[in-house]
Symmetry: C2
Amino acid sequence: MAGPSTYFDPADTDELAPRTAELVRRRAAAMGPAYRLFYREPLELVRGEGAYVWDRAGVEYLDVYNNVPSVGHAHPRVVAAIAEQAARLNTHTRYLDEATIAYAEDLLGTFPGSLEHVMFTCSGSEANDLALRIAKAATGGGGVIVTRNAYHGGTTEVAAISPSLGGVDSLAPWTRVAHAPGGGADLHAAVASAIADLELVGIRPAALIVDTIFASDGVFPDAAGLSLAVAAIRAAGGLFIADEVQAGFGRLGGGSAGAGPAGGDDAGAAGQNGADLGLWGFARYGLEPDIVTLGKPMGNGHPVAAVVARRAPIEAFAARGRYFNTFGGNPVSIAAAQATLDVVREERFVEHARAIGPRLRRALEQIDSPRIGEVRGQGLFLGVDLVDDAGRPDEALAIEVVNALRQRRILLAASGPGNNTLKIRPPLVFNDTDASRLVGELDAVLKELS
Amino acid sequence: MAGPSTYFDPADTDELAPRTAELVRRRAAAMGPAYRLFYREPLELVRGEGAYVWDRAGVEYLDVYNNVPSVGHAHPRVVAAIAEQAARLNTHTRYLDEATIAYAEDLLGTFPGSLEHVMFTCSGSEANDLALRIAKAATGGGGVIVTRNAYHGGTTEVAAISPSLGGVDSLAPWTRVAHAPGGGADLHAAVASAIADLELVGIRPAALIVDTIFASDGVFPDAAGLSLAVAAIRAAGGLFIADEVQAGFGRLGGGSAGAGPAGGDDAGAAGQNGADLGLWGFARYGLEPDIVTLGKPMGNGHPVAAVVARRAPIEAFAARGRYFNTFGGNPVSIAAAQATLDVVREERFVEHARAIGPRLRRALEQIDSPRIGEVRGQGLFLGVDLVDDAGRPDEALAIEVVNALRQRRILLAASGPGNNTLKIRPPLVFNDTDASRLVGELDAVLKELS
């Protein structure tokens, strides 16, 4: 579980500047006790551009955390697209809108031809929720298999398959947990065991769902046994759902899983229109999922998400009733999504992530500190394990490092099952100068704390 | 169930103009079989302003259907707020943002003081889903009581309490259906019976949830027995959730339930700050819900929604885990919501709805046609029953009327359990000229079809 200890402790306001303390107080009074803020000293951000954000005092921070503003904070193309469409019309999918259809076609062109349809939602949570509804309708099953520290969202249904949110005790009785990749674990064996466990109690498997970069499990770009696990769930009558909410839209820089430390040069399976964009994590495994879910970076921050799926499961779902989502696929959200996809292509962010990722990774590996354990990842999605002198996960150190970097104007967070993995997933405009700044500051912080 | 028969039949493309037929074909190919379009001749809308929308050929339509663009299509204040904030910064609730806090405070000021906190989501579905999570955490119960033809959204959890979506067969085993208002039904007796039925099988009641205008049940502004039903669910240990996704943000024009045909002049309970905005349907009953959900008109079309609740249930929920919604409460969504709320106040839409609603209702009642049955409603949310010669619900007539009005450039839809109730809920800028146009065209259509 992403430990609450990396968050601000509401009881700890003594050291805060008066304005910060007052905002914290007003926020808790109005928004209640369930919300969390980052850092011991919460940040009040007022402006963003590219990979940088600024606080109210005008201090600039390098954003190494936010994967949502994927093509850069406040990208002018995306902002203009939103403003222009909002000034024209914002309706819904019960009227015809050519731009919505054109975006659907454009997006599908980046997927294998077997993935024929797209349906729009407002959030990744809604997308995963809809994916499960579709999978259950299509298979007649109810069992869902997830990885050990999975996070798939916040609706009732997807919270019940997200052990990272409330622990394994919070899962639904039809959820089974397969061991995550890492530490020599093989997904195939774990998924086969979960299928057997479901069948033992008479629950038909509906789906195996995995985040294709295994972010909350600690960032694993080359999961051993994933392809065989997919074959196993299909043999048991279930579907394979690839959750691309975090990995998708080019962050991984294409490439093939298992092609060596940097992932190789192969950008994965070709899309429907023959395009080879390398936008999707599943493509690195040569897989063709039954359902794919999209979210976070899809509209560069605008609330838009989607389910992409084969025809047969959607037909089974449609036979049970119509689909409508008031805001899902509205013309303004589509304008944001189309502009974002256009920018990913025109500014060649897949190629950029593929080029800079391995350089950043090597630079992180070369930091001279016994506190750095394994460095993993692909493209601009990296995980850096922080360890103690004996090489064990060091959550306390990770918390110190995250807060010390914030003071040095570098924003990132810790994640993974031990909450000791630095999660590095900046906006894709992140360049070599930014990388040097990150590596330099991390080096300095580790020296300071050691 | 809102009958699929008011929707376009994908098999019926012969009469369509070539461009429309081609868009319908491309849309079905890309977006699949679960989506629906309005009307026998689907509309391609390209522009909106106030209560009007235009199709690609430049033909203007009077919008009597869309409650989402509540302060008018493409309202310049809302568009400017979105554009300005999108150009500055779009992040999330793990950083401090004064405008988000200020909006939360402003919004809470329109509620009774017992409703202390607000939490943000992207859609009404997510809001109702979160409300149920909170209610279940707070009560330890699992049973949920809804009205006969309720619609509360599209996530797995809320679809399972929405009989209007997939029929009563699609409901969860912990859902109980109480008879809706209308036809002399008393909600108190129906809810008491549902509570007894839950308890009989050992399910503890968690919540009674009602749309306070009972829109999908046929539009009932004065539900007999609602206050006693709320007392009954509380006595059984459950919470009362007021779903204001459709009724909220001023459409009902304030007033008290049961104060006569036009609802009276009392604008309901005062808010925390003493303001008397009459924004909420529950206030007309003098009720103080445990949880309120908001959505559709909250950002005038921008995807933003919320849960407003008492402190105790949110504390119980927070004790089980933190809350985060990537897009929920982001600064751009908040800017849209704040601008919308400001415009509702400054352009005095509550007073406008209170004034024009009764005039429109009387004009509809005065249409000289035996096909018009009961006319119900409050403010700018009205239902007009269409009946046959014997006074029975006439769904076939409603379908003809909806399509004939579309040809006469008036957009509305049919709803209610018999799908024979015309649902009149235009943008709140709808004025007396618009009302005359609607009434005149409806009169003409009924004469033509009789």
